[in-house]
């Protein structure tokens, strides 16, 4: 059975009024190969985001995958502090390595272009995999449900 562990990624946070000592954010991030039928995969970092309704990627990635967004069904999404974002959907293959590979009906939105990250959310990912966040050990595990 496919099961893998990935380390949390430590990201230093700068000094600010709210955090005068700075700090470190620990993010559950892994690399993933993203592809569409018949296409060449592109590889980028993805965040495991339990608060995301589904899997989302930067709109720029849709262009790198040579998707024609004008022909894709669309919906509107919203995140913290963001205006609503038009999101274009299609089926994609997502491969995290270590035997963790699946397909999902995923969206592409300009709202993620500034971060250049993908989000693995409830529909498509958490509905297929059991994920254990072991923050104290700075790792998370992914296992087929």
């Amino acid at each position: 059975m496919a099961r893998a562990a990935y380390p949390y990624i430590p990201v230093p946070l700068p000094v600010s009024e709210a955090f005068p000592q700075g700090g470190t954010a620990h993010r559950p991030i892994a690399f993933a190969d993203i592809s569409v039928a018949g296409g060449v995969p592109e590889r980028l970092a993805v965040v495991l985001d339990t608060g995301a309704d589904g899997c989302l990627f930067p709109l720029k990635l849709a262009r790198l995958l040579h998707l024609d967004i004008e022909r894709m069904p669309r919906a509107t999404n919203r995140g913290v502090g963001s205006q609503s974002n038009l999101t274009y959907y299609t089926d994609v293959a997502i491969d995290l390595g270590n035997g963790i590979a699946f397909t999902a009906y995923a969206g592409f939105t300009e709202g993620l272009d500034a971060m250049g990250l993908g989000l693995l959310g409830q529909a498509g990912f958490f509905e297929q995999y059991n994920v254990e966040f072991r923050h104290s050990e700075r790792l998370f595990t992914v296992e087929l449900a």
Partner: protein, 70 residues
């Protein structure tokens, strides 16, 4: 269970420090370096592939002064 002991993700983000915020970058896990960066993601990937990396990781340099709440 397979465990990734040394994270290439962490290595990539460490190497991105100091690059222009908003740049797209292409990282090589095998060569352990950022092969290209710039404003055009496709051009960055093309340059990385020309430099011998068939599977570059595309990423964007984020503003380190901004927290991430998704």
């Amino acid at each position: 269970m397979d465990t990734v002991a040394v994270s290439p993700v962490a290595e990539m983000y460490a190497l991105m420090e100091g690059l222009p915020i908003g740049s797209w970058t292409a990282f090589s896990e095998k060569q352990h370096k950022i092969l290209a960066y710039g404003p055009d993601a496709q051009a960055v990937l093309d340059e990385a592939r020309e430099l011998g990396e068939p599977r570059p990781v595309i990423a964007r340099v984020m503003d380190p002064s901004v927290g991430l709440f998704l």
